[in-house]
């Protein structure tokens, strides 16, 4: 059974986010001054071939922990899971 997972990896709170700061800084000059808290992270899609959902989810968590995110500076969360074929 194929399942598609979506993982979001974001910088830990308190850590400087240069990209988020740059976007937030340019918004007022484009006419929007009611926006704050801009944070930029990664959104990763992957399709896992596994028998049951729990096993697939555990594997995605392990991949996210070891490869997709750097625990020193990043957190991750699985935002979506969808059965395919």
């Amino acid at each position: 059974m194929k399942r598609r997972f979506e993982v979001v990896v974001s910088l830990k709170d308190g850590l400087l986010d240069p990209q988020g700061k740059a976007i937030e800084g340019s918004l007022p000059t484009m006419g929007w001054s009611n926006v704050s808290g801009v944070r930029v992270g990664k959104h990763i899609e992957l399709i896992v071939e596994a028998d049951d959902e729990a096993a697939a989810r555990r594997q995605v968590e392990e991949i996210a922990e070891r490869l997709l995110s750097n625990p020193v500076i990043e957190d991750f969360r699985i935002v979506d899971a969808e059965e395919l074929s």
Binding site: A22, I23, G25, S26, T29, M30
Partner: protein, 695 residues
């Protein structure tokens, strides 16, 4: 398939008839136009392989990936000759930076070139950036690559030896870029804008780096008989060209082509312009060792065809013959047009100099983006990797050591579209002269050029006239300086609405200095040196930076160019350097003498005082050609004068290096440090204004 192959981009149908009369022979030329890249003998049994190509159309649509894939493409042209790429240069033109979209395009193109060039480990050591209104909707993005190979190991792009295998190495094939660059570069921007399929592709520099190392290992171990990159019109172009060159035919098995998407039709597989792919010609017994090298570098490899006799290209898919065409018909016998031509009118404006306030004029020229420091761009490039960069961005010519020897390559790209807008012939001749001057001023001898001819829509007679005149100018200048044309690229349809770009031929000059220990730099190294201006200065402001930013409009005729005087200047600069007479040397170009002196002072912080004679504004800002500023020890003055006399080259001692200020007669006096800050901050100040997030 024919549409892609016979598009303007691949068959040069509008330009071929004019390109025929360019000089392409010389003892130093090992490979001339017609191959993937030109090659020049640089001594010690080595060849320099170099070429320039335009990626302007994709960059106008998506600047980051458009420019990035431009770097990938030109690098593969050098690689397919079996040469290790050692340097990249990027001549660029944009619209004025006062407009947010132009800032976004400039930031995106530089970011794309940096991302791609830096990650494949080839130093970007020079280039140019020019800003002018006609380039607003049509940025010009040219990229030049230089490689070094053993002269006896140059790999032909020929499908030789019936029975040999055609092996596709690198990325998989997708629908992206179907009829991409060949169609894109054969239509104007509007016609392309509503194209549904994204005709821009995403570059993968990581796969390119693996492709470079893998192909070089295959060449060095003598495992392959031929190599060809996949560029415009993809597989069918590469296959038919290499078959046509060898007079052989090819049987293609499209089922064997590794696909990134399912269900591609035959013509899509044949014309797909997916990036980062190379085609190798391999003798059957060598297939396994070739596979081992590719797998070591983690690259896909597939046998997609065989060389056969008979000169026909046949392609099979699903066991059915889907295409059968004579190779020569595809590659060489595209249509050749003699397009109608009509001279383009040029405005005439008399410069009125007495109303000019000198300090105000000087600051306007110094901080004009065309003249001011381009550090904002080139500091985003790795110009140090490979460890052979003796002089990088910021110098008149980049100097790249030929590892293991005392010699170095000297590289410069130049082209002044404003001169071209007033007189396409003279503008083009100046491009060759300025690039040769930038090489000679370091002490290196100019050897040969590549070039990129950037023009508007060839279906308009005045554009075709501009093109023919520009090619004539390049030809005459190359004959005069003994620097033959080894190849290059033509980019038409650079226009949208009614605004076409100025006739912009960009020349890439390659030279060699025999002992880089004698190379001369632009900066004044110390105080107490005599400053000489070599060449004649007259009141010549046509198409000058002064005319544009101080007088406010462009007109008249560009400065005259006498080939004999320009060659004499080159000979004096090269001879003087070889006799260690020069402590500094810098060519006069945009902005005139005032900018040349200022740049030499800024480079080291050493000030100067010069006398400007009775017509200071002309002395400061005229852009008369064939001039350079040199600084010499006092005991070398007589030797320099003797050398100049022997060549009939006027040499005026105009002042001395001293203190920390720049003193221009009694016209102007300013601290070098203040000029440096203005010169360095001009573009950063414009670019820090908010632009859309680029790249």
């Amino acid at each position: 398939m024919f549409a892609a192959m016979w598009s303007e981009h691949c068959s040069y149908k509008s330009s071929k008839v004019h390109l025929r009369n360019l000089p392409t022979e010389g003892p130093q030329v090992l490979v001339g136009p017609g191959e993937d890249a030109g090659a020049v003998d640089i001594g010690d049994g080595l060849a320099a392989v170099f070429k320039m190509e335009s990626h302007s159309h994709p960059s106008a649509i998506e600047p980051v990936q458009g420019a990035a894939t431009g770097v990938g493409g030109i690098v593969r042209d050098i690689l397919s000759m079996g040469a290790r790429p050692v340097a990249l240069l990027d001549p660029l033109r944009f619209g004025p930076l006062t407009d947010a979209r132009n800032r976004m395009l400039f930031a995106g193109v530089v970011s794309g070139i940096g991302q791609y060039g830096n990650s494949i480990g080839i130093p970007t050591v020079g280039g140019e950036v020019g800003f002018a209104e006609p380039h607003s909707a049509n940025p010009t993005v040219d990229v030049m690559c230089v490689g070094i190979a053993r002269a006896d190991r140059l790999v032909p792009a020929r499908a030789e030896g019936t029975g040999n295998l055609l092996v596709l190495i690198g990325a998989t094939t997708g629908r992206d870029g179907i009829g991409g660059v060949s169609v894109l570069a054969s239509r104007t921007i509007e016609e392309d804008a509503h194209e549904s399929r994204p005709s821009v592709q995403i570059g993968d520099p990581f796969t390119e780096k693996l492709l470079i190392e893998c192909c070089l290992e295959l060449v060095d171990s003598g495992l392959i008989a031929g190599l060809q990159d996949l560029g415009g019109a993809g597989l069918i172009c590469a296959v038919s060209e290499s078959a046509a060159r060898a007079g052989t035919g090819v049987e293609l098995d499209l089922d064997a082509v590794p696909l990134r998407e399912q269900g591609l039709e035959a013509f899509e597989i044949l014309t797909s312009e997916s990036q980062e792919r190379m085609l190798a010609i391999v003798e059957p017994p060598r297939l396994d060792p070739v596979r081992a090298v590719c797998e070591k570098w983690g690259l896909g490899i597939a046998v997609v065809g065989r060389v056969v006799s008979g000169g026909k290209v046949t392609a099979k898919l699903g066991g059915k013959v889907v295409a059968e065409v004579p190779a020569k018909a595809l590659a060489e016998e595209g249509p050749v047009y003699e397009r109608p031509m009509a001279p383009a009118p040029t405005a005439w404006v008399e410069p009125d100099l007495d109303r000019v306030e000198p300090l105000e004029a000087f600051l306007a020229v110094l901080t004009s983006p065309n003249v001011a420091s381009k550090r904002w761009a080139w500091e985003q490039y790795d110009y140090l990797v490979q460890g052979q960069t003796l002089a990088g961005p910021g110098s008149d010519a980049a100097l790249i050591r030929i590892e293991g020897t005392k010699r170095a390559l000297a590289l410069s790209t130049d082209g002044n579209g404003r001169y071209g807008s007033l007189d396409p012939y003279l503008g083009a001749a100046h491009a060759v002269a300025e690039s040769a001057r930038n090489v000679a001023v370091t002490g290196a001898k100019p050897l040969a050029i590549t070039n990129c001819l950037n023009f508007g829509n060839p279906e308009r007679p005045e554009v075709m006239w501009q093109f023919a005149e520009a090619v004539r100018g390049v030809g005459d200048a190359c004959r005069a300086f003994g620097t033959p044309v080894t190849g290059g690229n033509v980019s038409f349809y650079n226009e949208s609405g009614d605004s076409a770009i100025w006739p912009t031929p960009i020349v890439g000059m390659l030279g060699v200095i025999e002992d880089y220990g004698l190379a001369v730099r632009a900066g004044f190294p110390e105080r107490g040196l005599a400053i000489f201006l070599l060449g004649d200065t007259e009141s010549e402001f046509g198409g000058s930076e002064f005319q544009q930013v101080v007088l406010g409009s462009v007109g008249g005729r560009p400065p005259k160019l006498e080939f004999k005087r320009e060659s004499a200047l080159h000979r004096v600069l090269i001879e003087a350097a070889s006799r260690r007479l020069l402590r500094a040397a810098h060519d006069c170009s945009d902005g005139g003498l005032a900018i040349t002196l200022t740049e030499s002072a800024i480079a080291s912080g050493v000030g100067f005082a010069v006398d400007l004679g009775e017509d200071p504004v002309v002395a400061m800002f005229s852009e008369s050609a064939s001039r350079a500023v040199v600084a010499v020890e006092l005991e070398s003055v007589s030797a320099l004068n003797g050398l100049c006399e022997s060549e009939g080259l006027p040499a005026a001692r105009i002042g001395e290096t001293m203190g920390t200020r720049m003193v221009f007669g009694d016209l102007l006096d300013m601290e070098v440090e203040d000029a440096r800050r203005l010169y360095e901050d001009a573009i950063p100040n414009l670019m820090e204004r908010p632009a859309e997030l680029a790249g």
